[in-house]
Amino acid sequence: MLEFQNVSKEFGPVKALANINFKVAKGEIVGLVGENGAGKSTLMKIIFGAYQADSGIILIDGRKTRFSSPRDAMSKGIGMVFQEQSLIGNLSIMENLFLGREREFQKCGLIDFKKMAEASRYQLAKVGLDIDPYMETARLSFSQRQLIELAKVLALEERSSGDLVILLDEPTSVLSEDEVTLLFELVNNLRERAAFIFVSHRLDEVIRLSDRIYVLKDGELVDEVAREKAVASHIQSKMVGREIDTEYYKQDDRLPFAPSPPLLSVQNASVRGRFEKISLDLHAGEVLCLVGTEGSGREAVLRAVFGMHKIDNGRIVYFGNEFLKIRSPNAAVENDVGYMPRERKIEGIFASMNVAENITSCQLPAYARYGLLNKAMELGLADEWIKRLSVKTPSARTDCNRLSGGNQQKVVLAKWRSTGSKIIMLDHPTRGLDIGAKEDVYSMIREMSSAGIGLLLIPDTFEEAIGLGHNIVVIKDGRTVERFDCLKQKVTPFDLVSAMT
């Protein structure tokens, strides 16, 4: 009933999706898998009308159509159950169910809540929920809210022209094992009402639920597997399956780091709701990669080390000094810990400040006397680092919003290098960069490593982790599940995906 023919989508020079051919039949449950950045979310957004395809054809029941907006897609029978839940907590269940459709219950300008409650009970029954529709959704459990989301989407069937296609985006990420089973039963029972597209990074669940599985990699559908033939290892190899170019990651420059007491030792540390009992050691000159899916808690580990999250349990020892406690970013910076956050534009760079101002932003007192800045000294430092990292900028006085992404990233690195940080944490340092800029970042990582800096890295891809890291720690649902020593063994992306999913 829903069919994509040769659908492509580009963002500037980046091809996000290429020639996607994709089909969902009535009563079918189709799985969609792919690693981070493979194009899953772009594809979903096109199906849901949030993005428009650049080329290709979308058919519903054989008729050509297009979705100009989520609202338009909804009216044509496309529903989406979001991973980030979309219920409004301060509204009642029924108000959430009929949000944007209250007009149907209007009488003399007033909403007839009795009628709405009645209609709600009918919708809730579809997902087997017997619950007071007057209740505020903020007071419900997570799985209850998920069922209500599903009911809200199912309510589309009475007002859309065709049959329903429902997208389930990572619906199990926060559910317990029992709740997952219940949800799957329900979805199976709803087959007559709708077709489902099930998107998840948990491969075993996708295999369990789906009739067919599409594998997406680098914006292309690389395989289509029927359930009977679905084997986790096969699918995983399709999800990755890229040769690693040793030259590209300067692997030959990866020198074993000298044995030394760890610079940083995270010992059984937990931050409630983010990660649990994580342990890792980082040595001088080591590149330690944290691998895991979105929301696995990797980022929170970095933030905890940087003093942004309070540790609930366990401890973090810096430089072997058990008495050194870091409870704020300020303390982290003063103790030579640097952090390059993922969202460069929001947390990394000061866009309206110039290169020199960015570089000195974490070490102002060193360039000031009686609170007044020595600009000559500041510019001197900036010029030195612009040269060392070959930052392409007209001058040290150029505002950073005029630099390219790669050069902005170099400026952030220069900031931490120039303060003499001994531990530097990098969260997706190559995200959104072109190939040349990525290579520059890799060289810099090598250079820092050989300079004896401990690097904690969240890589953008598996290949980066394998190409750059001395050690790799795989984190799943906030826990360490696997460790790899890249100098001792040959790690493949397949190994990482198997550990993660």
């Binding site: 940087f306 942004m308 704020s328 970013p329 300020n330 303390a331 982290a332 910076v333 003063e334 952090y339 956050p341 969202e343 534009k345 929001i346 947390e347 990394g348 760079i349 000061f350 866009a351 309206s352 400040m353 101002e357 000195t360 932003s361 974490c362 102002l364 007192p365 000031a368 609170g371 007044l372 800045l373 600009k375 900031k415």
Partner: protein
């Protein structure tokens, strides 16, 4: 070229306005009256300088006017006993109350427009209490002895202009040369990046509001000296043109760019608009309407919408 024009549009605005007004009103080019016009606007300019710091970090200070009101009362009451010390004392009172707004904003996450509005209410109340809700007059002998120089002129230049220039120089020094100024810029430019660079963002924001309060108080002192007295609502009508001066100058509500030089230009623009309204015989009280409209136009053109995902 477009970029250059865009980042300097406040100069262009000023230039165009001056030409226009100059063409219509031939008396506008009288240097002496121009200087008097500038001298008159100095208290407003100083208040706008303070506001610049609050807006520069992406906040706002709506207490500035009530602060100046209260300070006129305090200055009138304590001039006799404190003498020249009245100036630093008022500055400190203003800085303390401004800092308190900042503290409430950062510590309890109360939006600055509310915390400053509330502190403004406190100031208004204090002013009424201290003054017994009536106009106060300074001892003219003491005032003339201590501050008489401020009201006279050097040649044709009113001495208040020198006062304004001195405060401006101080504010410029803070903004361009001090670590504080740099940190303010960082917070305004990207607050989360400032956190990730290890800056103590709360402290920096409190300092911005303290500066805003202190300078509003300074504006109040000068205003009181000029009028030789004070009252709880004597400075009403200052807030709007002060905000207009900052925003028209090119420091957007979203912060991070602009600064005190922009406010200097913005204040000039306000001065020119005022003088043209005088020429067109628009009464002072009606100017509010004009400035309100100018304010909206200025915001529309300066605000950085990429920083606002949802506009509330």
């Amino acid at each position: 070229m477009r970029d250059i024009l865009k980042s300097n549009y406040h100069w262009v605005t000023l230039f165009v306005l001056v030409i226009l007004v100059g063409l219509v009103d031939s008396n506008f080019w009288n240097v002496k009256s121009l200087l008097i016009l500038i001298g008159d606007i100095v208290p407003l300019f100083i208040m706008a300088l303070g506001l610049t710091f609050a807006i520069y970090i992406g906040g706002i200070d709506l207490s500035a006017q009530s602060m100046a009101n209260m300070i006129t009362v305090i200055a009138s009451l304590y001039l006799a006993s404190l003498g020249l010390w009245i100036v630093p004392m008022c500055f400190l009172v203003g800085a303390a109350l401004g800092g308190l707004s900042g503290l409430i904003t950062t510590r309890f996450l109360v939006p600055s427009f509310i915390s400053t509005l509330a502190i403004g209410g406190v100031c208004y109340s204090l002013a009424q209490w201290l003054s017994g809700n009536r106009a106060l007059y300074m001892d003219s002998e003491i005032r003339d002895a201590l501050f008489g120089w401020m009201l006279s002129s050097t040649g044709i230049v009113p001495n208040t202009i020198f006062v304004g220039a001195a405060v401006f120089a101080g504010a410029l020094l803070i903004e361009r040369r001090s670590t504080l100024g740099r940190r303010l810029k960082a917070v305004g430019s990207a607050e989360l990046a400032a956190v990730a660079s290890g800056m103590r963002v709360s402290r920096i924001k409190v300092m911005a509001f303290a500066l805003s309060g202190g300078l509003a108080a300074l504006a109040g002192v000068i205003f009181a000296i000029k009028l030789s007295g004070g009252a709880p609502s004597i400075a009403n009508g200052f807030l709007l043109p002060a905000i207009v001066a900052v925003l028209v100058g090119g420091t957007p509500l979203t912060g991070g760019v602009g600064g005190v030089v922009n406010t200097l230009v913005g204040t000039m623009i306000v001065a020119v608009i005022r003088s043209s309204m005088l020429y067109l015989e628009v009464e002072a009280t009606h100017q509010q309407m004009v400035f309100g409209i100018v304010l909206i136009i200025a915001i529309v053109f300066t605000i950085d919408r990429s920083k606002l995902s949802i506009v509330k």
